[in-house]
């Protein structure tokens, strides 16, 4: 399975956050680490697509007062998602081999 660059970033952010991964911290995590701003719409689209590809699964929390009585949607990376992200890491690393000296400056 091929993952887009943003999809990889999102999967990695979910992995980093562990059991606290829902949209708000995911977005903050990406923004802090990469220093680029993330549109909410784009993030939701990516999350939905990743779930559709079975790379992510989600569960709804109990309703919370700080959300006006709505639930949080927590994400976790599935086995499929892990496999996909490993594969893309492997592929990228293969492509990097021998170029580090020229590109890392």
């Amino acid at each position: 399975m091929n993952l887009g660059e943003f999809e990889q970033v999102v999967l990695l952010a979910v992995l980093r956050l562990g059991e606290h991964a829902y949209a708000i911290p995911i977005r903050e995590e990406i923004e802090q680490r990469t220093g680029r701003s993330v549109a909410r719409g784009a993030l939701y689209t990516a999350l939905e697509r990743l779930e559709g590809k079975h790379c992510l699964r989600s569960r709804m929390s109990d309703p919370l007062p700080e959300r006006g009585g709505r639930s949080r949607r927590y994400f976790a990376v599935t086995a499929t998602g892990m496999a996909a992200i490993r594969a893309s890491r492997r592929n990228l690393l293969k492509m990097w081999q021998g170029l580090e000296s020229r590109l890392e400056s």
Partner: protein, 898 residues
């Protein structure tokens, strides 16, 4: 942090929820935004809500697109195998879906045209939305009390006086209350000008004396403390107040310990028993309420009508039950006390109807009618643009019809396009409404707002969104149907011919567009007439003669409390001392005191009897406006003495009672006679001799213009209600502080209110007129603008279509003048027909405006004629631009064209 404080804007949230549809994702996104909004609102509430709006708008668009995508994907996978056995209902939905997408694409293909259409519609819809919001807030839902339709207002008046709301005497009220089984409670309230002292500067606030069940009738619980107890209606235990929430925050620094303490009101100590809930200011911006008591003397009083009664219907009883029961009780009152109650009848209203300003309906209906005219003009413009567009798409339509599209489908598609356009205009229209409502609400002075229940509730809310969307749909059908039908009539042969030759293109289309121009002009003229009439009236009442000189005049009001000023001598002394001190201030020419200042919002009237002219109906004596003034009053206002003399210091309590009458009174009661030396009296008081006549004043533009008025020397008729007039040589407001100081020197505990220039009073007093004038001016301007744009559009289109023909004419020897004349003549004839129809409509709208302005303005031929000339000139100019282009066409270019 309370949940309500951190909740995001409701409208934005609802919008987003609608866009996202149902499901987990909707809940996820709404919840995330809620959470982030709460965090942001910790630093700035307003910035957080504007942030929320931005996110909601962005995510709504994204949400809709995602739904479309999901829908398409699911349909592709679902529909493909089952294509042959598709149920019929699905076909329609699918077709509609396809067609909507086609419509959106077609709109996006012509962004400039679409933008003009949306802009025009936004103006028309926005005007209607603004007026609807006013109507909704002021007429449909002015009061926000619980079960407001169970609350009623009871009056007992004669037929000519049926709009009076202070409609009961204490005696009549107490009798009605005994027979009020249809009501849970029948409460009463009475105007009270309350002077607060202690803790801060002395201050006059709006108060009401109320019966102890007043709050129960309205279903209101105090925010702190309690409402009144039944025993507090008795004399001796009535010194209690409930204070308004705003007053509590402002004057008492939101101190909860104030409940149970005493405060100084009118020179007495009152115990604060409760604090009203936030926002409760019924009636008329009330800030303090105290129990009303009925002394034996008051209970026997059936002559003075100063009480307003409100009742809550008992469970299971209807308004009709209450009307029937009160009618019987009323008849009984008439039989028992014919001398005061003759011809009176009981009326029971819902509180909304009862408290509504009678001037409101004609004004609002005139505005709504005008806004509707503006919308019609906008529709005509849009229809005209779409017809022009239809001409361009003639070929496309003809081909589609020729290869088998049904007419219905073509009409439906074009109508859908119109509907999508109209719906795009809805948010823009709401923005227009939002801005105009902000202006409308903000311009009203706070001291007037309290008289207009519901004024501050005008806002863009869900109801307004619904109204605007509904109106937009209706509008789309109005402006879209004719062009759509027209387009569906395209014939292959004609269309191809038209396209090839471009000479007689769309003759019937052009006819229709000309018809629309005629319609626009016919609608614009009456709006211009109405706007001009309103503006002229406002100017006249703001700047025209008032009967006195309002420049350089400072006025202020005060109410002397019973505790220290019950005796007439104390009132006279106070007036005398204050006037003397004011007069001594530098820059002051003269000063005077009177009970009621011209152009203020209060008034006194008394019944009179003329010596030697007994009134034929003694139970209904004529009433005139009543004034008691210190000697220099007329001089201070620069109101001329027309005959006889003015008052002097020699008119004292121990000298002969004298009176000055204004010319209106003299004309009415002594026509063709000199009133000086004649006698009149009030009720059964001693006769007063007329010593002079003076000029008339405009007290109020509504019904107090040059009204019969009598003036008595203040020393012979002192009052506790007092207004001061200070004539200055320069800017009157510059001495306001010194004038307050002069007052403090006489009595440091006496508060004064409405300290302002007479110009300001006039401004406040004519605020209603200014609204009428301002709003009508905007509508008139819009109408003129839209009509001129419409004329330009049609003429430009016509010239473009006839380029070829014009080229032929010029090649055959027509001069530029001929071409110019041909085009201008067309504009002229269209405009002339429009104006002729417009004159007829002007007469109709003119009647409405006469009603709205209470006959202050009347339509006259010169105004209509002048405006018709303006409109014709504007239209000719709009037509002239394309005409010149036509005349400057090179024949060779024109013939080569296409």
């Amino acid at each position: 942090m309370t949940p309500s404080k951190s909740a995001p804007p409701r409208l934005a949230e609802r919008l987003l929820a609608t866009a996202l549809g149902d499901g987990d994702w909707s809940e996820t996104i709404l919840g995330d935004l809620y959470e982030e909004h709460a965090l942001r609102s910790n630093s700035s509430q307003s910035r957080a809500s504007s942030w929320y709006w931005r996110q909601a708008c962005r995510l709504s668009v994204g949400g809709i697109l995602a739904r479309v995508r999901r829908h398409r994907e699911s349909r592709l996978t679902r529909d493909l195998p089952s294509l042959p056995s598709r149920p019929p209902g699905d076909t329609l939905m699918r077709t509609l879906g396809l067609e909507s997408r086609y419509a959106v694409r077609s709109i996006l293909k012509r962004p400039a045209l679409s933008a003009i259409v949306v802009f025009t519609l936004a103006l028309g819809l926005g005007a209607n939305a603004s007026i609807f919001s006013m109507f909704d807030a002021l007429v449909l839902r002015p009061f926000t009390m619980k079960d407001v339709d169970r609350i009623t207002l009871v009056s007992f008046t004669t037929r000519d006086d049926e709009n009076r709301r202070e409609a009961l005497s204490p005696g009549n009220y107490l009798d009605l209350r005994k027979q009020s089984g249809a009501f849970e409670h029948l409460a009463a309230f009475q105007w009270w000008t309350a002077n607060l002292v202690g803790r801060d500067q002395p201050e006059t606030v709006q108060g009401f004396f109320v019966t102890t069940d007043f709050f129960a009738v309205l279903g209101v619980q105090p925010a702190a403390g309690r409402a009144f107890l039944p025993e507090e209606e008795t004399i001796g235990s009535e010194r209690r107040v409930v204070i308004g929430h705003g007053l509590w925050e402002r004057r008492f620094a939101s101190d909860p310990a104030i409940v149970g303490q005493s405060i100084g009101v009118d020179g007495e100590q009152y115990e604060v028993v409760g604090i009203a809930p936030p926002g409760f200011e019924f009636p008329m911006g009330a800030q303090v309420w105290a129990p009303m008591t009925f002394s034996a003397e008051a209970a026997a009083n059936r002559r003075s009508q100063y009480i307003t009664a409100i009742g809550r219907l008992a469970p299971g009883r209807t308004l009709d039950d209450a009307k029937a029961q009160m009618a019987v009780a009323g008849e009984q009152l008439v039989r028992d006390h014919p001398e005061t109650n003759r011809n009176r009848e009981v009326r029971v209203f819902t509180i909304g109807d009862g408290m509504m300003d009678i001037g409101l309906m004609p004004i609002l209906s005139m505005w709504q009618a005008s806004a509707f005219f503006v919308l019609l003009i906008a529709c005509a413009n849009v229809a005209s643009l779409l017809l022009a567009r239809g001409a361009e798409r003639n070929r496309e339509m003809a081909i589609r019809l020729a290869i088998g599209a049904s007419r219905g489908r073509v009409v439906r598609e074009l109508l859908l396009e119109s509907i999508v356009l109209a719906l795009i205009a809805v948010p823009a229209a709401l923005a227009v409404a939002w801005v105009s409502l902000k202006l409308v609400v903000g311009y009203m002075p706070a001291k007037i707002v309290k008289y207009v229940a519901g004024w501050n509730q005008m806002d863009v809310d869900v109801r307004l969104v619904g109204f605007t969307a509904g109106l937009a749909l209706l509008t789309a059908i109005v402006f879209g149907l004719v062009p759509a039908l027209q387009a569906s009539r395209s014939r292959m042969s004609e269309a191809l011919k038209d396209g090839a030759r471009g000479a007689t293109a769309g003759a019937s289309r052009l006819r229709l567009r000309r018809g629309l121009v005629v319609g626009e002009i016919a609608l614009a003229l009456p709006l211009l007439v109405a706007a001009t009439l309103s503006v002229l009236t406002v100017r006249q009442f703001l700047n025209g003669p008032q009967g006195f000189n309002p420049d350089g005049l400072l006025t202020m009001r005060l109410q002397l409390p019973d505790a220290r000023y019950k005796k007439p001598e104390t009132q006279s002394r106070f007036a005398h001392d204050v006037v003397e001190r004011l007069r001594a201030l530098p820059g002051v020419q003269t000063a005077a005191a009177i009970n009621v200042m011209p152009a203020s919002d209060n008034n006194w009237g008394r019944s009179i009897e003329i010596d030697g002219k007994p009134n034929p109906d003694p139970s209904n004596p004529p009433s005139v406006d009543y004034r008691a003034a210190t000697p220099d009053f007329l001089a201070a206002l620069q109101t001329p003495i027309k005959s006889g003399r003015t008052f002097t210091e020699l008119d004292r309590e121990d000298t002969q009672p004298v009176v000055i009458v204004n010319e209106a009174l003299a004309r009415k009661y002594w026509p063709n006679e000199n009133p000086v030396g004649k006698r009149m009296r009030i009720d059964k008081e001693p006769w007063m001799t007329v010593v002079g006549t003076c000029g008339d004043h405009i007290h109020g533009w509504f019904e107090r213009r040059n009204y019969p008025t009598l003036y008595r020397p203040f020393r012979q008729a002192p009052t506790q209600t007092m207004a001061l007039a200070v004539r200055t040589s320069g800017d009157s407001t510059a001495i306001a502080a010194a004038a307050r100081g002069a007052l403090r020197a006489v009595d440091p505990e006496q508060p004064v209110f409405d300290v302002q220039s007479m110009r300001q009073s006039l401004h406040d007093r004519t605020i209603g007129l200014q609204y009428i004038g301002g709003i009508m001016f905007v509508f008139g301007g819009l109408a003129l603008l839209l009509a001129v744009v419409g004329v330009y559009g049609v003429m430009a289109f016509m010239v473009a279509q006839r380029t070829h023909e014009i080229g032929v004419r010029m090649a055959l020897g027509a001069t530029r003048q001929d071409v110019l004349r041909l085009t201008v003549r067309q504009t002229g004839s269209l405009t002339a027909i429009g104006v002729a129809l417009g004159v007829v409509l002007s007469v109709l709208l003119g009647r409405m405006i006469e009603a709205a302005l209470f006959g202050l303005a009347s339509n006259d031929v010169r105004i209509t004629g002048g405006l018709a000339a303006v409109l014709i000139t504007a239209a000719l100019l709009a037509g002239y631009v394309p005409a010149r282009r036509a005349a400057s066409i090179e024949p060779t270019v024109a013939l080569r064209g296409e």
